[in-house]
Symmetry: C2
DNA sequence: GATTGTAATTCACAATTTGCAAATTACAAA
DNA sequence: TTTGTAATTTGCAAATTGTGAATTACAATC
């Protein structure tokens, strides 16, 4: 048994040492997809579009595209290229979510897609007025192409669990925001109301904001101070809200 | 500007509608890698092996292998196939870590690797006695092939931050373990000593263990009660230790 | 210029959750 | 029986969180 294990430690490729070229089948369906999330009136929305081509022509799907091996240095570059045409520029927050692969996803055959999550302030999204592109409430998803429903569920799971103890929700806001905005963003992400005084105390203790010195007046109420995120992403050692798993 | 955005929403492929077959370059270097972690005398170790082939022949590297599109249903299947030959079976904990890709990783060209993390009890690892396979202390890594150092760093980052508020560290233990073992596992992962009474109180409150009813005697001290994990993975809404980001 | 309305921001204090250190407890060995 | 040692609890003090009740800062109105 130990011997068997030993043998198998060699990659199978080495068995035909003559062939200078290994001959595995190559992957022709290599794509990247993005779950672009935003808050619209404090409701979580995903950016979807209707596929113009087969497979799943006409079905709603996540924006994405093929990785162009000759022009994309890596999948991040591919995602940025794809995204550049669909979202206004600016340092939008993005992170890799998970890679989905296999025979079952795409009727054309074995495919692999590296999925990402992008968090964008609503105002930074410049959508075409085509009815084939829309922001859909995440609690009201239509049927989607491929395994995109699963991808979105995973993205939401990640956002909600990571959102409780990190600065993630702040990335839905403009660069400068008020504490009320911040609290509303956390509440939207976590799906629960938070106590204002406790929330502010924690935010203050965690020191991940810097005040701009400015305030946001306008209304006939006390003007709110404006803040800015120190770093786009930081984990805390305690949660800002509760909601979890 | 809005118009331009609009146009770009169509995948480029649709421009030559004549071609029924799209003609992107295909990916020939598609692999999976695993960061197999274990605790050896309460020290975190990674499973590494010396590559027998080019590129990086002779260099230490993570176990991994090509995805065989014709026999692997998806990358998970590929990982399991690769792992089956290097680790004793059993329900070892595994999760996808991140996908690494691009021109720069492999001298042979554009490559993509889906990296995973596996947590295994030391006793379940059946290594060949070859000096080309070893468990290396994560704080004493040698130079590694490809971008494997980065992958291991990412794996450790994930383990440490997720370990503080989840059952992850328990996956390094045997199916039945004592609370002292559990605490030691968390301490090893988090890199800090934890207070015993506080730790036990939290573990008890979080209710993610079930007692087996058995105890582990043997020594001339008070026998420790044995426990078992309810689910291999669960997130908490509070941390068991501190250590973070 | 004083008064009012409304959200922003703080405070004060009770309710909980940790951090620490000092007991207990259960066995095997002496 | 007594002793040694790690397992398990207990008992507060200290720190953190949950609530509800004040303050505060403006613009609009009186």
């Amino acid at each position: 048994m130990k011997a068997k294990t030993d043998i198998q430690w060699q990659e199978r490729v080495t068995q035909n040492t003559q062939a200078s070229e290994t001959s595995y089948e190559t992957l022709s369906i290599l794509t990247v997809d993005v779950v672009v999330l935003t808050l619209d009136e404090w409701r979580l929305k995903v950016l979807l579009h209707q596929r113009p081509n087969e497979p799943f022509a006409g079905a709603w799907a996540l924006p994405g595209g093929f990785v162009h091996l000759n022009e994309d240095d890596d999948t991040s570059a591919a995602i940025e290229r794809v995204l550049a045409h669909k979202v206004g520029v600016g340092g939008i927050y993005m992170e890799q979510l998970k890679t989905y692969s296999g025979m079952g996803r795409d009727p054309r055959g074995w495919s692999l897609s590296v999925a990402h999550i992008a968090l964008v302030p609503r105002k930074d999204l410049h959508l075409p007025d085509s009815p084939a592109v829309a922001l859909i409430d995440v609690d009201d998803l239509p049927e989607l192409a491929f395994d995109h429903v699963e991808i979105i569920k995973d993205a939401l799971g990640r956002l909600r669990s990571k959102g409780a103890y990190s600065t993630l929700p702040a990335n839905f806001l403009d660069r400068e925001f008020t504490l009320s905005d911040l609290q509303a963003a956390y509440e939207s992400v976590l799906g629960e109301k938070l106590d204002t005084s406790a929330f502010r105390r924690k935010v203050s203790d965690l020191e991940f904001l810097e005040k701009t010195g400015e305030t946001r007046g306008g209304s006939s109420k006390r003007p709110a101070r404006l803040y800015r995120l120190h770093d786009p992403f930081r984990l805390f050692d305690r949660t800002l809200g509760r909601s979890n798993s």
